[in-house]
């Protein structure tokens, strides 16, 4: 019974996408059917049949930092996300968008095994990271988290000095180089150095919200990860601080792969190169509706639901 249910859901998702993608070229709000839509639909050669709604013709040439295959996540008996497959391109900003409760944060927390910390949570499927499945129980979650850093929704600096906040990750990972330089370098990259260089002994908690968030980014950078996950990093900040964080994301993308969860579509449009749109169905199970270059997702969505969300019809 349960197996049938899953097969049903798995097979239904791509069909729905294809159908709505076809419909989309019809008489909808986007006036003339953009020329590349048909191309997209045709060229959607499914190299990997599990990658639904992914524009392969664009992504296949890219170097992938992560490759998700049929990832599902559960909290106890509740399924939060179902059967998501998509790539995360290297040295790009990928935004995960969608209405509340669609599983964006859950998905993000799969990438660095943060869900391991929640009792009763489990993740199925495969996330390929440098040729290995990072969801594999044999893979050391601590090592995964060292290489895939994370910045949280609410700034959470440690109740330690600014210096110690940045040095913390390096210290626990046995960094033996010049700590002062690492701290300075990390704070510079997080665009915080000039504001705090004279008060590195001050508590990280004494900084403003925006500064705290940049401190958390510096803290993540200091571990020298390959990927930085950001879970609505600017949602608790004022517009000026938000802009600074966004600029920072763009800069960081030169060296790191960035995955950002955001509620704010303008933000996704401003900062990301690629966008994944997630949506939860009636049973509150989040599914991937569409993945592609941000520009395409925003201007020519393949799926009607993506367009409805982008144009603010719900969510």
């Amino acid at each position: 019974m349960a197996r049938n249910f899953f097969t049903l859901m798995r097979s239904s998702a791509p069909t729905a996408t294809a159908v709505s993608g076809a419909n989309q070229s019809g008489p909808t709000t986007t006036p003339p059917p953009p020329p590349n839509i048909k191309e997209d639909a045709d060229a959607g050669v499914h190299l990997d049949p599990t990658l639904e709604a992914v524009r392969h013709e664009i992504t296949e040439e890219l170097d992938m930092a992560l490759q998700l295959r049929q990832v599902s996540a559960f909290y106890g008996s509740f399924q939060a996300i179902d059967n998501m497959s998509m790539p995360i391109p290297r040295n790009r900003v990928t935004a995960l968008i969608g209405p509340s409760g669609c599983g964006k944060s859950t998905l993000l927390r799969c990438f660095n095994r943060m869900n391991d910390l929640i009792p009763g949570a489990r993740v199925e499927g495969e996330i390929e990271f440098e040729g290995r499945n990072l969801l594999d129980p044999a893979m050391d979650a601590v090592e995964v988290r060292r290489r895939i850093g994370m910045v949280f929704q609410k700034p959470n600096p440690f109740p330690k000095s600014i210096y110690e906040n940045v040095a913390f990750g390096a210290r626990i990972n046995g960094y033996s180089g010049d700590m002062d330089r690492l701290v300075e370098e990390s704070l510079r990259r997080a665009a915080l150095w000039d504001e705090v260089k004279d008060e590195l002994d001050k508590s990280g908690l004494a900084l403003s919200g925006g500064q705290q968030q940049r401190l958390c980014i510096a803290r993540a950078i200091a571990v020298q990860p390959e990927i930085i996950l950001m879970d609505e990093p600017a949602s608790a900040l004022d517009p000026v601080a938000t802009l600074k964080i966004e600029d920072l994301m763009r800069e960081l993308a030169e060296e790191y792969t960035i995955v950002v969860v955001t509620h704010n579509m303008q933000q996704a449009g401003r900062v990301s190169d690629y966008t994944a749109f997630l949506l939860a169905g009636e049973e509150r199970v989040g599914r991937l509706v569409e993945f592609g270059p941000t520009q395409d997702i925003f201007t020519n969505p393949l799926d009607q639901r993506t367009e409805d969300y982008i144009t603010g019809r719900y969510g």
């Binding site: 660095n112 943060m114 910390l117 009792p119 601590v142 090592e143 988290r145 060292r146 290489r147 850093g149 994370m150 949280f152 609410k154 959470n156 600096p157 440690f158 109740p159 330690k160 913390f168 990750g169 626990i172 990972n173 908690l205 958390c216 803290r219 993540a220 571990v223």
Partner: protein
């Protein structure tokens, strides 16, 4: 019309009464605003008395202590009390060097803390960071029950269980009454204070801090020792000082197991006498209320009181001074 006429004013009265009541609910009258009924005033007064009773009792005790202590120092010079380490209050040739007793108390408390701090902190870290919620729900109440075991039981436990082991280890010349044995059971007695209060402090550390540390590639041990424990520092230190204060004030176990030997020596295998045990000894005998032995009891009690009070003040200061605000 006629039938409704009497209702009109009545309803109005009811309504205004209700309005009155509601207004009172919404804007509680301040004390002394003069709007209370006699019954209200009576209850108010009774509550005030109950609330202040313990304060009055404390003040009364302190006053008695001060009064009798002053009496004592009229007969015995201040320096004989605080300037000497020899105590022989019940002998013909009386000496009142309180340091012998303070030392005994201090030694027992230090041994107790040496036992309780590692045990208590490890228990707290386990319960807060490692234990599955269900196990914690069972273990923590049991740990807290340990705090409810009558201290006289701990005293006998020291004599019949701990001292024999000490004698097996250090040789049979060691007396059954010794500071080490008493100190160890005092330590066991205060483990729940440290474990329970430290665990509360550690669990109050926001989850977001733990997640932040895990996201940097910390192991559970690193999260516990480098993030949670330092973040809970004020609570942990306060729990330790509170436990120390309890150890200093502990009476029954040390009276039974410590031996009655007021002395100023560093060997924990010898018998000692604490301030509390001395007070027991002095007040058990048929000491006349006018005698110097009776009065010295108050001087010792005063010393003890000042000591524990100071510790409690330090504990409060530490927990305020080092408290981290996360919002």
């Amino acid at each position: 019309m006629a039938a409704q006429a009497p209702d009109g004013p009545q309803q109005d009265t009811v309504r205004s009464l209700l309005a009155e009541l509601w207004r009172d609910r919404l804007q509680p009258s301040r004390p002394g605003s003069g709007r209370e009924t006699p019954v209200g005033r009576l209850i108010h007064g009774a509550l005030f008395l109950t609330a202040t009773l313990s304060a009055f009792v404390t003040i009364g005790i302190v006053l008695v202590l001060i009064f009798e202590t002053v009496e004592f120092f009229r007969e015995v010079p201040f320096l004989d009390f605080f300037g000497s380490t020899r105590w022989s209050a019940l002998f013909a040739e009386k000496q009142f060097g309180v340091w012998a007793l303070v030392w005994g108390t201090g030694m027992i408390a230090l041994i107790g803390l040496a036992v309780a701090i590692p045990l208590g902190l490890m228990a707290a870290i386990f319960l807060s960071e490692y234990s599955p919620p269900r196990l914690r729900a069972i273990v923590k109440p049991i740990l807290e029950i340990l705090a409810g075991v009558p201290t006289v039981v701990f005293g006998y436990f020291a004599l019949v269980s701990v001292s024999p082991v000490i004698r097996d280890i250090f040789g049979q010349d060691v007396g059954i009454y010794n500071a080490l044995s008493a100190g160890i059971v005092v330590g066991l007695m205060i483990v729940p204070i440290i474990a329970s209060l430290s665990e509360d402090a550690m669990r109050a550390v926001p989850r977001s801090l733990r997640e932040g540390a895990y996201a940097l590639g910390s192991t559970r041990m690193e999260v516990s020792l480098r993030v949670v424990l330092p973040a809970a520092f004020s609570g942990v230190v306060a729990s330790i000082i509170l436990a120390a204060s309890r150890a200093v004030g502990e009476t029954m176990a040390v009276t039974i197991a410590g031996g009655g030997n007021p002395q100023f020596g560093v060997n924990p295998l010898e018998a000692v006498q604490t301030m509390t045990a001395m007070i027991v000894q002095l007040s058990l005998g048929d000491t006349p209320t006018t005698s110097i032995e009776f009065k010295v009891l108050f001087a010792v009690a005063m010393t003890l009181f000042v000591l524990t009070l100071a510790m409690n003040i330090v504990a409060q200061w530490v927990s305020r001074r080092f408290r981290e605000e996360y919002e």
